[in-house]
Structure formats: structure tokens, C-alpha cells
Symmetry: C2
């Protein structure tokens, strides 16, 4: 393909307002152009990358036995009213009316439509399981679109929906989809982590999020540096490794501690480390008081607490609420002499402390010599702490690290969430009516393009993995006024194309420096430069990723590229 015949509007300067590396480089490389806030045109180079990503996705999806199809992007609002999502989805839903005043939404996802289609078509367990997918533009009316394609109002997504008559078939498809998604991300050349979802809060269903580590990620991902373990910070856990103390247990002793409220004040007053203090926090869980004990050097994780208690509403009590409920100052809360019905929970790491300091639940007083097993023998221990970098991974393998991550995919066991409310029933093997059991599986296709760019671009521009690069080789005659260069470019392009490679030829009448800068911005894996040694039949091969260059005879070019490309 001749570069002069493609729309590739490269830019020397960073565009204003583009913070993310991927956003800047996709614009500077001539891949995307903004059309309105949060919507982008995919110019020809970006489209070639998208097509390759889509081809990989389709191949892996088809291999699982899923079938591709396509549903309308405008969805009758009635479908979402029936499912209950119309009211809960919020302001991100684009709505519109047709000329006859029927209300529609622009689909951000299509659980309802697929459920309706299957409900109209399938009446018996015999026609299940089915897994149906599509790749299509989706819409979300973001309040503040940003980071280019990462948070946009119109984006490309794979969404797949499975329908089965029993949990076993769902489990089977869910497993196959996990394997397929991993194969897709691996082939695309993306570094990613699979994050086990919060299985409890979703009613026992399994889910997994796939996240690509990147500086602009909106989630904090916790992962082990030595195992597969990964989790969102909210749900991350570390191994419970009780350090045994050989100190002799001291008696529990009430101490006057006027004006001692914070952990820092406590450690200073008693001259102890914070891991020798047990802090007591009063929460309201669905309006009921709960006292939570944590070691002084640790931080409560409210998502875990909510999950452990199985409540919807969970808030730290205000100073007023503390006074009202316990009749003490907030800094003096303790697990003693609590009003009837106050639940007490402790993090696992409280259990092994010896001779700790703890609030006495009396204003201006603390206990020292607190030994939990002796002093609160009924205490319930759970994992409600927030992990820290350097903690031991819960699988015992490696230490926890933090990173920012971009959500690139999600698999989810929906169960009967949609089939029940929309009435999608089948007759089971015993002739009984049962709601269909569903799963859904999604990949952010346009996000993948950005995620790869985010992970692999450098200061000079984009760097594409071979599997999804818009072209395999960038052929650059440095001076198209020299006939021998143009001829050699044509000859080389022909030979490379005959070998099955996709070639972009920079046939423009630009200076060599401009061409090289543009080539770096565009980021094709291999560059072949045809310069002064063209008449000797010698060209230069450069690997974009490593910067490695070698000179080679034209006759050896295909081999040289093959050898170098293996290293990419």
C-alpha cells in the first residue's frame, strides 16, 4: 500500500488536552481523530489494527462453538423497563424517540435484546446450550470522556451471551470463555491479569475481570510478583501469617489517657509500635452498630466488611453517632461493655497480639495488657484488612504489588437475573418450566487498541506487536527522486508481499528525517530503509521495538526480517 494514498495525518506535536500516552500517540501517529467530545474516527491505520484484533477474537470465539450475529443498536426502552435497568443504569444511558414517540436507548450492552430473541425462539432444553456473540458499536453517555478511546461515548465491544438449561453447561461455557479470552489477550500481545470477582455480593455467581496494567488505569490492581494472583484493591487479600510472641501475658489494666485519641497519640503515650495497638471502629451496617477491631498498623477494608456482613449499606459512625450509641468520645471506642446487640468483629491479625493497648470504651481511658484469646474469648476473626505492597500473596507465592489497570474484559455468570424478569423459560428434561441460565462475556475492542498502545508505545510513537500491527513492514525509500531507490522499493515490496507480508511504502516526496519520524510514530514492527547504498543493493532493516538495525543485501532481506522478527 502506498502511503501517499492513505489518510495518515501524523502530527509532530502532542495534541492539547491528551493526557494518556496512548491517546497522544494514536493522534500523533494518524490513527484516530476526535469527532466530538468522547467520539473518535478510526482512520485507516487504526481500522487495520481493529480488524486484526477482531479477527483474533472471532477465531477464538468460533473455536468455542459460539456463533456470531448482530442485533440492532437502538433498543426499545421497554426492554430495559421490563428488566428494571432503565431506572438503575443512570445518566450514562443515551435515550431517543422515533417520529411516533416510541422511546429507544442506544445500547451500552444487550442482555435484554438477546434474552428476548432466545425467549421468542427456544422453548426446550433440547435446543440449549447456545452461545451468541457480536462485535458492534456501543454507547455510553460519559459525563467526562477522557484518555481517548479508553473512556469514550461510542466504542467497539464484543459482547457474548450464553444460554443453558443447567449450571453445569454454564460452568463449562464460562470455563471455555475464560480460556478463549486468555488466548485472545495473549495473541494480541497484551500484558494482563485475570481478577476474580466479588462472588458474594453478586448472589453467589462467579465473575472475572481482565485488566491490563497501565499508568492511566482507573482501578488499582493488586498482584503477586510470583504467581497468578490478582485482585482489585477492594477485594485483595494477603496471607495470614501469625507471628508468635514469646512475651509473658500481662494483666489487663485500665490506664488514664486524657486527650489520647489517635493511633499516633496512643503509640506515643504508651511508647509502643502501632502493631502493639488494637484499634476499635464503630460502623453502622444496615443501621445496626458493629465494632470492628484491627491491628493499629492496618487499615479497614469496607468492601470486605460489607461483604462479610452481607449488608447493602455500610458507613463509619459519625462522632455524634458514637456518642449517642456508646456514650464515649470517638477515640475511646472499645469492645467492652457494649450495648446489647452490638456485633463485634476482629481482623485475623488481631488474634495473635500479646499485651496490646486497646480502647476501653470509656472516655479518656485505655486498657493495656490486652490479650484477645484471654480477654475476649468469643471474638470472631475475619479478613477485613486492606492489603499493602510487600504483603505476602494469599497463595503464599510472592509479594503483593500494586499497579493501575485498564479493564479490557469481563466474564460473568448471570444466572437467571434476566431470564426470570423477562420470562425466558424453557421446559426442562422433566417437562417443568424453568428460567434459562445465562452468562455474559465482554471485551472492549477499541479499548484493546488503546491498552496495547498504552503498554508498548515509547516517546517516539507507537510500537505494535506483530499480530495486530497495521502492516508488517514499512519500506522507506529516503529520496523518491532517485530512480534506483524507487525501483528497489517496488522490487522489495513485491518480494515481501509475495512472502505474505503486508507492506506500507512511504512513496512521499518528504525529507528522510520526516519519513523516519513518521515511521516511528506509526510503529510498524520492521522498517526497511532504502538509502545511499541502494545502487549496491544494500538496505537497512530496523526493528521498531528494540531499535536494532542491520544492513543487509536485498537478496537476504526476507531471511533477515524473519530472523529479526523472531526476536520481537
Amino acid at each position: 500500500m502506498k502511503q501517499s494514498r492513505m489518510l495518515i495525518p501524523t502530527q509532530k506535536q502532542d495534541p492539547t488536552g491528551a493526557e494518556a500516552l496512548s491517546h497522544r500517540m494514536l493522534i500523533r501517529g494518524g490513527y484516530i481523530q476526535q469527532v466530538s467530545a468522547g467520539t473518535y474516527a478510526y482512520l485507516p491505520l487504526a481500522y487495520r489494527v481493529l480488524e486484526k484484533i477482531e479477527r483474533i477474537i472471532k477465531r477464538e470465539m468460533d473455536a468455542t462453538g459460539a456463533s456470531e450475529m448482530l442485533v440492532p443498536e437502538i433498543i426499545p426502552a421497554q426492554f430495559w423497563q421490563d428488566s428494571g435497568r432503565y431506572d438503575t443504569y443512570g445518566a450514562e444511558l443515551f435515550t431517543l424517540k422515533n417520529r411516533h414517540d416510541t422511546e429507544f436507548i442506544l445500547g451500552p450492552t444487550h442482555e435484554e435484546t438477546f434474552t428476548e430473541l432466545v425467549k421468542n425462539s427456544i422453548k426446550s432444553y433440547k435446543k440449549l446450550p447456545l452461545n451468541l456473540y457480536q462485535i458492534q458499536s456501543k454507547f455510553r453517555d460519559e459525563d467526562r470522556p477522557r484518555y481517548g478511546l479508553l473512556r469514550s461515548r461510542e466504542f467497539l465491544m464484543l459482547d457474548s451471551y450464553s444460554f443453558s438449561a443447567n449450571e453445569d453447561d454454564l460452568d463449562q461455557i464460562y470455563k471455555e470463555m475464560r480460556t478463549a479470552f486468555e488466548a485472545i489477550f495473549n495473541q494480541i500481545g497484551l500484558s494482563y491479569r485475570g481478577i476474580i470477582g466479588d462472588s458474594g455480593s453478586m448472589g453467589g455467581s462467579d465473575s472475572m475481570e481482565f485488566s491490563a496494567p497501565a499508568a492511566v488505569g482507573e482501578d488499582t490492581i493488586v498482584y503477586s510478583n510470583d504467581s497468578e494472583y490478582a485482585a482489585n484493591l477492594e477485594m485483595a487479600t494477603n496471607m495470614f501469617v501469625p507471628q508468635k510472641s514469646h512475651a509473658e501475658a500481662q494483666p489487663l489494666e485500665l490506664v488514664d489517657t486524657p486527650d489520647v485519641k489517635t493511633i499516633d497519640q496512643v503509640t506515643a503515650f504508651f511508647d509502643v509500635h502501632s502493631d502493639q495497638v488494637v484499634k476499635s471502629l464503630l460502623y453502622l451496617a444496615d443501621e445496626q452498630p458493629v465494632v470492628v477491631l484491627l491491628r493499629g498498623d492496618q487499615v479497614a477494608n469496607e468492601a470486605k466488611l460489607k461483604h462479610v456482613l452481607g449488608v447493602d449499606k455500610f458507613e463509619l459512625a459519625t462522632a455524634d453517632q458514637v456518642k449517642q450509641l456508646l456514650n464515649v468520645q470517638p477515640g475511646a471506642v472499645g469492645p467492652f461493655d457494649l450495648p446489647q446487640g452490638t456485633k463485634v468483629l476482629a481482623d485475623e491479625y488481631v488474634q495473635p497480639v500479646v499485651n496490646a493497648v486497646i480502647g476501653a470504651n470509656q472516655t479518656g481511658k485505655h486498657y493495656q495488657g490486652f490479650n484477645p484469646t484471654r480477654d475476649l474469648p468469643e471474638l470472631e476473626y475475619v479478613d477485613v484488612r486492606t492489603v499493602k505492597e510487600g504483603d505476602i500473596s494469599p497463595d503464599g507465592s510472592g509479594e503483593l504489588q500494586f499497579t493501575k489497570g485498564i479493564e479490557i474484559g469481563h466474564i460473568f455468570k448471570l444466572g437467571t437475573r434476566y431470564s426470570k424478569v423477562l420470562g425466558a423459560d424453557i421446559l426442562d428434561e422433566n417437562g417443568r418450566q424453568q428460567p434459562i441460565i445465562m452468562g455474559c462475556y465482554g471485551i472492549g475492542v477499541s479499548r484493546l487498541l488503546s491498552a496495547v498502545a498504552e503498554q508498548q508505545a515509547d516517546d517516539n510513537g507507537l510500537v505494535w506487536p506483530t499480530a495486530i500491527a497495521p502492516f508488517d513492514v514499512h519500506v522507506i525509500p529516503t529520496n523518491v527522486k532517485k530512480e534506483e531507490q524507487v525501483e528497489l522499493a517496488t522490487q522489495i515490496t513485491g518480494a515481501l508481499e509475495d512472502a505474505g507480508l503486508e507492506v506500507l511504502v512511504d512513496d512521499r516526496k518528504e525529507r528522510a528525517g520526516v519519513k523516519f519520524a513518521d515511521s516511528d510514530l506509526i510503529g510498524i514492527p520492521v522498517r526497511v530503509t532504502i538509502g545511499k547504498k541502494a545502487d549496491e543493493g544494500i538496505v537497512e532493516v530496523k526493528i521498531r521495538k528494540t531499535g536494532e538495525t542491520v544492513e543487509t543485501k536485498v537478496d537476504d532481506l526476507n531471511n533477515t526480517i524473519k530472523i529479526l522478527a523472531k526476536e520481537i
Copy 2:
């Protein structure tokens, strides 16, 4: 692919309200399902056909040097306000607002967006010509959607936009696109006609519409049975072949014709054929009176008249207007003694009439012995007649036939229509600012699916041409309880797939009759039936289109299919 794992909801009965053959059969074959009035889901079989159509389109488009890309489906309303189309496009435009009250439209076509993108990227003639295309969902808020995919609210379309610095480059691209479109339609296996557009009314620009003859078409297409000639009825013309009469010219004579008004009454009164009568019609063209003369057996073509006169408003005068302007009854209008400033035009076929009857422009009177060259020597002759079936084609080759047609594609020289109003200028070779010269080219992708179905389906279901069939071969073991049939089906499928064919295997536990009926509905070109002779290694091959069947040894199957498939 196993039929049991695909969503193919065939139906025995015609769906209610589906008039068009293609609509009925696409639903009955399990290809499409309505989601809301005028929107359809493309189920897996339909998606496979669409994908093959798209692949053919992309290959031909890429071969012309055009590049594929993708622009957002939601378009800022401002773009269309700037181009002037926001107000003129009418009620078919879907509009919506985002949460910040910015107005958008759902794109029915994207001239403005592409013009804006190129305007932002291209400043010099050196970077042109460019041809950019996309295949994507488009939206039109049809008042009365019908015929399934043929007139729907959301549809798939190829739209391509060319940008050039001069007319020659536009001409070149326009020609290439015409060739590419013809190659696409031919490969898809569609019968179609290329219809030259009304070049005058669009400001001198060329255009061509591609129309697929079909019973449900909304346009009447006129074509020659012996040449390439085709036109919409509005613009169709026939050859002017003056028949010489050897009759002697009679004198012009005023005759009392009380109560004789219509052509039938005139022919009865004078005992002549209608081709011996000249009828006179009074029109108002942009409010000015025009008398139009036609031979009595011919019908005026108002589109041609409007075009010839170069007017925007064109209406037949009412009885009241006739009386007011000419002071006669409507049936008595004639080209004589007209008020000052009344234009008179005659169709070419009036010129050779001899001794005709004509209105005298006096109530209750006609002339006989009218000889135009003698009696109205100044008369202007033009082609303003409506053609009839059997007329001679204007190129002299063959007779005109009428058919209904479905518009499947359009190519159009836009010139500077959009670049001027949107300010998309470039510097030309002389450093002068010039608006970019544009063309646009469209194919209704989902319409093609329906058009092929419309042309080729029969009473038993769909009949797909090999190039776009969802599968190449339908393998049907008639009884899956018989192990030898299932084994043979697996063996045959493997062999066919190894030979590069796509195979659908009906592995369902259905009766043979149900399977055959479904197979006919689905319309895969070749069916292989594995029945009672399975243990002898004999199967039946049936060609869907011709109904031809042969028995063949399994070892000869691939060859048999190859031989038979050539005939399809």
C-alpha cells in the same frame, strides 16, 4: 458446524404482516428476527451471508486503492446544520441529546463527517486523491418501515467518499467505483441494472443508481431487452421513430364538438385512433402557464417536463385555473389564440402527425386537419412523453420492458456541494485555495441480502448463490439414532471441510421430513442426505436451486459436488 449448536429458529408458517417474499423467507429460514418495528436482529445464518457480502465488497474496494475506516455513528447536529441538511433532511432524521444537552443525530450517511475529517487533515493537493470507505449501521426514522430489511430503521451500508483536487481525478475514481460496484454485484450473483441519473437537475453532476429487479421494488425501472439501457420510469426515454404518412394534408377546419372532452370522446366523435389526436395540457410551471402537446395515445412525463423547463414547481392546472387563464372548459384547451406569454411545448411525436384532431381553445370546439409544421411552424419539440413497454430502446437496440426495482447502490459526483459550505479547501498546484472535489458511493449491504433472497427464493424457501451462501454444503443424516449414519456424517463433513468447504450438519433428533423442509428453507446450495443406503456407503446429493438429485458413493462425493456445483 452442528445445527443443534446454532440459533436457527425456522418456522413452518408465513409470519403475519410480511408481504415480501424475501421478508417471509428470511424469517421462516431462521435468518432474521424483528426486534422493533423496522429493526431486525441478523441471526447467525444471516450474519454469515452478510460477512461474505462484506468480504466481497472490501476486496473490490481495496483493489481500487480505497481505504477502510470507521467514523462515529452519532454525529454532532452542528455538522448537519453547517451543511444545511439538518433542516432539509426531514422527519427521517433520528435526533438525540447527550447529558450536557448537546444535540446529535444518528447518521443516515456521513458526507459531513468525512468532509470535516479531511478538512482537518489535508491542506494540499499533493495529498489527494483519497477514497475512504466504511461499512456500518446507519439509521433512518422511516414513517412506515416494511418489506423486512428493504425499508428498515437501522441498516448496514457501505459508504465511500472520494476527495480530489481536480475533476479528472474525480472522473477516474467515479469510473473505478462503477467498475468495482459492478464486480461486487456480479460476484454476489445478483441481477441488476445500472441506471444513469438525472444529470441536469443535480447541477450537471453525474450519478448512477444500481437497481435489482424484484417484485417488491419501490421504483419502476425501464430497461431494454437487448442492451444495457436502463432508467427510472421518470427519466426513461424511447427512440423517436417518426412514421411517415403519405396522406394528403387536409385544411384546418373548426368543428362543433358539444360535450366532447376526453380523448375517448374525441376518438369516438371523429372516428379516429388516439394517435390521430393531439392533446393539449395546461400546466403551471413556477406559476407561469405552459401548454404541452402530446399525441393522444401518449402520457406526459412531468419529471421530464420539469427538467426541460428548468423549474422547481410544476403542476397541472386545475379546472378553475384553466377557465381563469384561457376562458375555456378544461377539455377544450388548444395551442391557438393563447394569452401573451403562454409557452407552448410539444413532444417529438406530435411533429409527424398528419390531419390530426386538436383542441381549438374554444369551449365546445375542436379542429380537424391539424398539421403541425404548417399550422404551428414555430412549435418547439422535446421529449416529454412517458415511455411504454414495447417502445424501442433509445439506443435503438431492443424493446423497453418494465420491472420493479430495489435500489442497491448509488454512485454520485458531489463536486463541491459539501466542501464549499464546510470550508474544506486545499491549495492547488498554483498555490490557490480551492474547495476539494468530492464523490460519494454507497451500497445497501443488508439490502443486498434481501435483494438476493427476493430474486432467488422459491416457494420452499431461500436459494443462495454459492458466493454468499451461509454454508456450502448441508449434510443431513436422516436418523441420528442410527450409528452408521452419524459416523458417515462425521466422515463426510471432515472430508468436505478438508476440501475447503463450509458444512452445516443437521445433527438434530428430528424426523427426516422436518429436516428436509428446514433445509429447503435455509437454502444452502448443496444438500447431502445420508439415509438408508448409509451402510452401503451411498448418499444422495441434491442441488437446492435446480432440485436435481443424484446418488453417489461416498468416495466420489467431493467430485460429484464439484461437478454439480459448476452447474449452479
